[in-house]
């Protein structure tokens, strides 16, 4: 399983959209979700419609970008947690210590989903490399350095965990996988040292991202993103 986690870091195909367009869409979707969630909408149909619109919009844009499968895989994991949350809601409803109605429970789940969709979009669409770039550009260089150092050796750590867990499972049986802790602690320290070694000999590579890829295509996307925010705001206000 941990080996598969390592492969999650491989966002093999680059996006067709420039970084600015993707930031605009993600910001727009997040703002849209926040406006709907915090506007105090009581009508279930309105929340349903908002959720459907958001999902269709994200699906369409990722389908064009060829990253839909990656996005849906990400959602699978997250919705496992949403499902668990729903179970807790249901339990608290049945025991009378939580929400008063089923509609309220469903509204809660849908509003959570509204917030999760754009967050998953961000996780699918931005590489750690691009996040580091953005952090550096907004003056958070130290944070960017920490992020890059933490993430750069993470796939190696996942592969180490996978190998250690398997070795110990065979050595002692599946109940004693925790025994690999000494090795993993040591390996984490060594990887920290390794990062320092890389930094000492080579320094950090310069980051270069494509802010705009296809001018016309990116402009359309940015225009749509801004229009979405304005339209949603106007619809809620009036």
């Amino acid at each position: 399983m941990f080996r598969e986690l390592a492969s999650l870091f491989s966002i093999a195909r680059e996006s067709r959209y420039g970084l600015l367009a993707r930031i605009a869409v993600t910001t727009s979707m997040t703002t849209y979700s926040l406006l709907i969630v915090f506007a105090g909408i009581k009508d279930m149909l309105c929340v349903n419609a908002a959720l459907a619109i958001e999902f269709i919009a994200i699906t369409a844009i990722l389908l064009v970008d060829g990253k839909l499968e990656h996005y849906l895989n990400g959602l699978k994991v997250i919705f496992l947690f949403v499902f668990l949350g729903a179970l807790f809601y249901a339990f608290s409803y049945l025991t009378g210590i939580g929400p008063k109605s089923v509609v309220q429970v469903l509204m809660g789940i849908e509003k959570t989903a509204l917030l999760i969709f754009p967050l998953t979009l961000a996780a699918t669409w931005f590489t750690p490399y691009e996040v580091s770039y953005v952090l550096e550009k907004i003056g958070m260089r130290t944070f960017s350095l920490i992020l890059r150092s933490a993430l750069s050796k993470l796939p190696l750590l996942f592969i180490d965990i996978s190998d250690a867990a398997h070795t110990i499972k065979l050595k002692y049986g599946s109940g004693k996988i925790y025994k690999s802790i000494y090795y993993l602690l040591l390996e984490s320290l060594l990887l920290g040292n390794a990062y320092y070694e890389t930094y000492y000999i080579y320094g950090l590579p310069h980051i270069e991202v494509e802010l705009i890829k296809n001018k016309r295509q990116d402009a359309y996307v940015v225009f749509l993103a801004i229009s979405t925010i304005i339209t949603t705001y106007l619809l809620i206000m009036y």
Binding site: S10, S152, T167, K171, G173, L186, I207
Partner: protein, 489 residues
């Protein structure tokens, strides 16, 4: 030697560590070394002799990453660099683990980002030019952690030469490298030589490098001695012929497992069609293949870590499987070797007998201090300890060993082959060994050899006629452990 041509000079270098907080342990006592422009130098020495310590001291890493005291000088073009904040750009170092030298996952991004600091807009061009020079262009769009050991090693060297260094230090450049990649790395070293780059190589598996190095040094008891290269070359003469007839097990051997039409894939690009395979009791099977050919994947299928996409794996006679991963350190879990023995033997039907057997085996293999931490043992000692636990405890009936010979000197390799032959012949254990190099195979007595070629398992029909390197191993042991054979440099 004209002093003008000397680019790097180590003078009276002494390195000590503080052990247990206060006790000082001297690793390097008095090291003197001069390296000329364009010279290729090989430093050999047994495990734990201080080769990596010396390599890291030269680049200035040691006093920054470890609690070490360094005395003496390391002069690069006459300037002392041992206490510099950063190493000079003209000296580069590629350590034992090549994967650590990449920050970005995507290799092209990492290399171009690094080159950008020196060449600005020309970075892409330079990276392309250097990668073509080393024949690595095809790897640029890969992710660093998916590279095989040999590939990662070559790309790490590519990164090191982007800034045209004058000195390149390579620590165990042949570790995890298959026979074909050994030739490629030799080619790279030859090319660097033609560019007048001085190369210092620290290597256990040095035989393939002897024809490309100018001088050989032995690091022993903290002192560097110059060795006569011809003395080592002479050890290459075949003195002992071993014929492997792919000894099939006797008909009475029980079948342990069989695989039928097994196919596995990580993704669409990497499909392994292993086909059919059978394993019986008391068999020693060798899987021989290049880095990335699918040997480790096969072992993981046998051990159950991975499930086949199609085909079947049937166990006819279930037995406990023990696994030694590529990094032997991952096998250990306890604070001392003794506790390792106790934990493994708890699973035995006869714990006392198990403890006795393992302790005897460890003593015979030169592991005498059982209160030592297994994590502080040298690589070779870790492999020997793990094999004693796996093979002589009586707990495991099938051993899966992933590259057990890598990172070992010739004598350790010879010892390990002896253990494996003995385990199968006398202890009734079945063993599957994955190896990427032919060398150790020469001293093994396998029941079957399979070539793993792009995920296909092909039974070897050859009758291997290889020189068992027993004489080489013993001669090298004598050089490492015997009386000082040569003059101090």
């Amino acid at each position: 030697m004209s002093s003008e041509s000397v680019v790097l000079e180590v003078r009276n270098l002494k390195v000590s560590y503080y052990v247990d907080g206060s006790r000082e342990k001297t690793i390097l006592k008095n090291i003197n070394l001069s390296v000329r422009r364009g010279e290729t130098v090989l430093v050999i020495g047994k495990s734990g002799s201080g080769k990596t310590t010396l390599a890291r001291s030269i680049i200035g890493l040691l006093n920054k990453t470890q609690n070490a005291t360094i005395e003496g000088e390391v002069l690069f073009k006459g300037k002392d660099i041992v206490n510099a904040d950063l190493p000079p750009e003209e000296i580069k170092y590629v350590g034992q683990n090549p994967y650590i030298y990449f920050v970005e996952y995507h290799l092209r991004r990492d290399l171009e980002g690094y080159a950008h600091r020196y060449y600005g807009e020309k970075a892409k061009e330079i990276v392309l030019e250097k990668s073509r020079f080393l024949g690595l262009e095809h790897l640029l769009d890969r992710f660093y952690y998916f590279l095989s050991g040999g590939e990662a090693r070559r790309v790490a060297i590519l990164k090191a030469i982007i800034t045209n260094p004058e000195v390149l230090i390579l620590d165990e450049p042949l570790m995890w490298v298959d026979d074909e990649n050994v030739l490629k790395i030799k080619e790279i070293i030859r090319s660097l030589r033609s560019m007048n780059v001085s190369v210092i190589i620290f290597e256990h598996r040095f035989m393939p490098l002897l024809d490309i190095v100018d001088n050989v040094y032995l690091l022993k008891n903290g002192i560097l001695y110059r060795l006569d290269k011809n003395r080592l070359s002479a050890t290459q003469a075949p003195e002992e012929q071993t014929r492997h007839n792919n000894n099939a097990p006797s008909m009475s051997s029980r079948k342990i497992l069989s695989m039928k039409n097994v196919v596995f894939s990580y993704d669409d690009a990497r499909v392994y069609e292993f086909g059919d395979f059978e394993l019986s009791e008391k068999e020693l099977i060798v899987l021989l293949g290049r880095n990335g050919s699918g040997k480790s994947t096969f072992l993981k299928l046998v051990s159950g870590q991975l499930k086949p996409k199609s085909g079947s794996i049937t166990w006819h006679h279930r037995c406990r499987t023990g696994y030694l991963p590529q990094k032997p350190i991952a096998f250990f879990t306890e604070i001392t070797v003794m506790k390792e023995i106790e934990e493994v033997c708890k699973q035995s039907k006869n714990p006392d007998g198990c403890r006795d057997n393992v302790e005897k085996a460890l003593k015979a293999l030169g592991i005498n201090d059982l209160e030592r931490s297994p994590f502080s043992l040298s690589w070779g000692e870790q492999v020997r300890t793990a094999l004693a636990l796996l093979g002589y405890s009586g707990v495991y009936g099938l051993l899966l060993l992933d590259e057990p010979f890598t990172g070992l000197d010739y004598y350790d390799r010879y010892v390990i082959t002896g253990i494996l032959n003995n385990l199968v012949a006398c202890n009734g254990v079945s063993v599957i060994v994955a190896a990427s190099t032919m060398e150790p195979l020469s001293c093994l007595n396998p029941s079957h050899v399979y070539h793993v070629n792009n995920g296909r398992l092909v039974p070897s029909r050859d009758q291997h006629e290889l020189s068992c390197y027993k004489s080489i191993a013993l001669k090298i042991k004598d050089i490492y452990e015997g009386a000082v054979p040569c003059s101090e440099n």
